[in-house]
Subunit: 188 residues, 2 copies
């Protein structure tokens, strides 16, 4: 009998109707449950304007706005080391647009890197259903190229050269800690 | 001329009208600006129920509720190491009530400790205006004592024995990284 690869066409990422965030949350839950790592998504920052306190029931927020995050999506600890990453998806197939990043996210990743933390991006090309881990120091090069007047995206060839592809699995879905292990061995 | 201590009665913590959170945020901002550490308060988790999307203006959250945090207040990186802490205040003078902690916060700190992260509590006794850093492993002892039927608080004598007092300063206000340095030397 032929063994069906776990990442077959019928079971593809897009078809599962899951977002990258869903899969990363499930992955982090798997890491937590199995004592592998403690990594959480940060709550979305909200600017609260008006709160009502009804008697005998919970406070209701009646007016609030989404604030732009000043840091990245996920952080936590793996073997004592600080882990920090941003997750981004694109529908583009030829390149990854840099407009997906905000200046303060880059600044945050630079500060983390300077402090000896492990910072990276998990990027998903949704059409081809491929996921890469790009170390932050590689992202900085393309960010600076853009600010020097260069292209506003990272070509798929550049992504393939500077990043590690993460195969999709069943459990955990996106086993990015395996890539981190490799990168720690190579001194990131 | 007599040198006025920065922590004199007239300038006391309570009189400044600042919360522990304000002072920790200013401290963390100082650490960030000076390249000492990258530590942020996590946003308050909110359950969003209803959002309106008016034309030509920002999305408005019309109904939302506060969720209980599943982790601690602050985390980040110092010299590559993962830092994680909870900040708590009490008006009690004789002891620190353990009801200030939630079970999932303790579980989170246990998972962080098991993963080699540096977890602790910054506790403020607001009446006497004193601030202590208690390593998480000390807190776990009192938590377990309570669950074994023991007292529901940590006496001030116990706090003094197991924790390090953090003197209030001008900049940074609550220099807890100095305590972390000491604890790292003593293998925490
Ligand atoms: Mg994101
Ligand atoms: Mg708190």
């Amino acid at each position: 009998a032929k063994i069906k690869p776990s990442h077959s066409k019928e079971m593809s990422y897009s078809n599962r109707g899951k977002t990258l965030e869903d899969d990363l949350n499930e992955t982090n839950q798997y890491y937590l449950t199995n004592g592998i790592a403690v990594i959480h998504k940060k709550p979305t920052p909200i600017q609260i304007v008006d709160v009502h306190y009804p008697k005998r029931s919970a406070a209701i927020i009646k007016e609030a706005y989404f604030k732009q995050a000043s840091t990245t999506d996920y952080n936590g600890v793996y073997k004592g080391k600080y882990i920090d990453f941003e997750a981004k998806e694109t529908k583009s197939t030829a390149s990854f647009p840099l407009k997906n990043f905000h200046d303060h996210q880059i600044k945050h990743m630079q500060a983390v890197t300077a402090q000896g933390g492990i910072a990276f991006v998990i990027m998903r090309f949704s059409i081809t259903d491929t996921i890469y881990l790009m170390p932050a120091k590689e992202l900085f090069v393309y960010w600076e190229r853009m600010h020097a007047g260069g292209r506003k995206s990272i070509t798929i060839q550049e992504v393939e050269t500077t990043s590690t592809k993460i195969p999709l699995g069943f459990q955990p879905r996106i086993d990015y800690i395996k890539v981190i292990d490799l990168l720690i061995k190579e001194n990131f």
